[in-house]
Amino acid sequence: MLIYDLNANPLNSNEWAFPLTECFHITSFALSIGTIALVDLRLLGLGMRHQTAGQIVKDTSLWTLAGFIIVIFSGLLIFSSDPIHYLYNQAFRFKVTALTLGIIYNYTIHRKVALSNSSGGTGVLVGGISVLLWISVVFSGLWIAFI
């Protein structure tokens, strides 16, 4: 299924398709990671101090999810344009791992700690790990093109 005529994929044959898909990918990860960053800013105590973390997480949930859906969909499209190459790319494999971990982490520990409005150490730790995880996703995403 991964071996097919790559020229049949419009992302490879159409001049605009691939960059446009990437733009959707970028905008949607800005939405997802941005909304997660809002929660993390509060957990780290660096911003949005007039709101509780629980309030921010409840407000951002839907938008984070919308961002994830578009990011994964556009990501799959980009993957389909050269599946074997991406599968063998170490940065891509790292990115997918980090992404999976990030999504699971976001909907379990991160959400629980944010909703419980725990202050101080726990919040800083959980928020910090979240920031580092998502930054590593973005970094490895770019690194795909450099290895």
Binding site: I33, D59, W143
Partner: protein
Amino acid sequence: MSAAEISHAIQSIGFLTYIRESGYTYPVIMATHLTCIAIFGGLILTTDLRLLGLAFTDISVTDFVRGTRLWKRIGFCIMVTMGLLLGTSEMDKYYANPYFLMKMSLIVLVGVHAWYFRPRVYNNTAAIDRAPQIPGVAKAAAVTSLVLWIGIASCGRWIAYWEPPRPKAPAIPTTAAIDIHAPGMARLPVTWIK
């Protein structure tokens, strides 16, 4: 000096040459630039959603703008620094790139946007919160901000896909155009010598 010469001179500055030819430095700078798009572009996106009344309606505009202001500014500074390093280290490739030039123009327009909307919207959030409905000027600020920033990110991505026009190769003469007859030679119909 022409634009090409100035670009080459800028690009040839020592540390910029180092960045351009580096193994890790250039990707790290670009990845930092991209992370700023994620985090701080995201903050801008969410502020626009709040100004349009589409999200976070239980948080006042004042709280939202004030709570994210510092990090938007820090993020902007990092993004611009990384962007300057990226752009100047590859100036030869970029100065004629229409997507790069459009991106720079949009960034100038963002400055105009800030100049116009800051006194009316971003420093006037108390009035926006008091109003029964979000005023049109706030929505205008949000829509133009969305268009500008998504445009900037898209142009940025498209920079890599532009190819400079290459000079056309000289036409290869066809056999009919090549005269194989030496001076004085009889022009006979060609026959194959077995």
